[in-house]
Amino acid sequence: MKGNNAKGQMRVVEVILASFVIIFALSFVNIFAVTPTSPKYEVTELEKLGYNVLHDLDKQGLLPHFVYSEDWNNLTAALRVSLPMDVYFNLTVYDLNRTQINDAPIFYGDASAFENSKNVASVTYGLVGHDSYNPRILVLQLVRG
């Protein structure tokens, strides 16, 4: 009788130990599990987002207004409220000779995110002019923060 009791207790101990092993194994697998990422999808999505925002601002007449009046503060604010909070951006405005026009940064986010991220999207958008032909090339870089 005593021997049976001891065996029963050992079974309980074995079950507890086995449970610990299973829980540990599952946690271990979860820590090292790598969810496949798709840089192509991420960049394409950011490019679409960036183009849509520039196009919407252009359609409302705000983009040419801010660019040709060189109102970089309002252009930055307009992009900030139009893009999701976790999307960082850096916009550069050039003329046709590829000379940078904006003398102040049109930027939001963490500079290191642009340096370290593998998924930096870049959108190029053209404006022909406000009152006369005076093209500007806008290069918008986007990265998920």
Partner: protein, 337 residues
């Protein structure tokens, strides 16, 4: 995102039911692009919409997403809150109520990005509509801008001491994004304001009151900041809100109303308040609605609220609803077995 089928499925009224929706889509049929959403369709996603809504399971089925979960969010481009960061509601008003006694309306709000960072130089336009026992008045729009801490405050002198006040704030950042926020001092709520298609429908609120209501005037505030007089009540525009009254208390169609992008309706009514309400005799009142629960200053969420940290796909797009810009976000993931 397309218009869905029928293209006006959100605007069917009366006799709306989810069965009329053959294909789901939120885009406006009157716009040439899909990023302009139809406010009538978006409103059908609001839980508790008095005129009827469409539930998550039905939408999932219509989208063919069996085996998947989704979350749909409409995120405002910035937030308008009380100065201490609390949400503006009936219990936390940005109005200094003490000064109302001296015929002065003073308000203070904070404008910030969704991460809490203040927005300086946001333009605030305030329109005040108010009544006392026998008077009704609208103050001309008054403008102010937010300071470096994102705080905008203003003081407006009133013609008389108000018993009911509604303040409509139109807040704009860089001319691109606008939010309209309403708040006020309205102790009694006799009707709910609903807008669907070109119609305004007044319905009985959840907490029933027993009052005789005469409708005097209807105005609407559009996303571009104009307050437009829409209707002057006649002797026929009256109803009772008590037991036995129909759920739909009053409705009227105004041709082309929807195309004018109304954001908030302001209605001047005269009531005989119910016994025990603390108010006596006929009262001029002002009520506003209906969008504050949906397109105000909070994130609107529809569907499953907890996407997994991994394995979910998100799509985002800036969209326009009633002339105002928002970010729409659709997150999709596989159902756990």
């Amino acid at each position: 995102m397309d218009t869905g089928e029928p293209v006006n499925w959100g605007s069917v009224d009366p006799n709306w039911s989810p069965e009329i929706v053959k294909r789901f889509g939120l885009a406006s049929a009157s716009a040439s692009t899909f990023y302009v959403l139809d406010p009538d369709k978006v409103q059908r996603l609001v839980e508790g919409n008095p005129l009827g809504g469409i539930n998550y399971t039905v939408v999932k089925e219509l989208l063919g997403l069996e085996g998947y979960e989704f979350s749909f969010r409409i995120i405002p481009p910035f937030n308008v809150t009380n100065v201490d960061g609390t949400k503006i509601d009936d219990n936390h008003s940005p109005i200094n109520e003490t000064l109302l006694e001296e015929k002065v309306l003073q308000y203070a709000v904070k404008v910030c990005y969704p991460n809490g960072e203040p927005i300086p130089n946001a333009v605030i336009e305030a329109v005040v509509v108010y009544t006392d026992k026998s008077n009704f008045a609208i103050e001309s729009p008054k403008f102010t801008t937010t300071d470096s801490m994102g705080i905008g405050r203003d003081t407006i002198n009133l013609d008389f001491k108000p018993s009911h006040v509604t303040v409509i704030l139109r807040v704009s950042v860089a001319d691109v994004a606008t939010l309209v926020v309403t708040f006020g001092k309205n102790p009694l709520r006799f009707v709910d304001i609903n807008a669907v298609g070109d119609s305004i429908v007044l319905t009985r609120p959840k907490n029933k009151t027993n009052a005789e209501v005469k409708l005097h005037k209807i105005y609407f505030f559009s996303a571009d900041g104009t307050l437009v007089s829409l209707y002057n009540g006649t002797k026929d525009d009256h109803f009772n809100t008590g037991e036995g009254s129909p759920f739909r208390l009053w409705n009227k169609t105004f041709p082309c109303l929807k195309s004018r992008n109304p954001v908030v309706f302001v209605i001047n009514i005269e009531t005989v308040p119910p016994k025990g309400s603390g108010e006596h005799g006929n009262q001029e009142m002002v009520i506003a609605g209906p969008y504050q629960n949906l397109l105000g200053y909070t994130v609107f969420q529809y569907g499953s609220s907890s996407p997994p940290e991994r394995g979910a796909v998100s799509l985002r797009r800036s969209v326009i609803i009633s002339g105002m810009t928002y970010t729409a976000e659709l997150t999709l993931w596989k159902e756990s077995p």
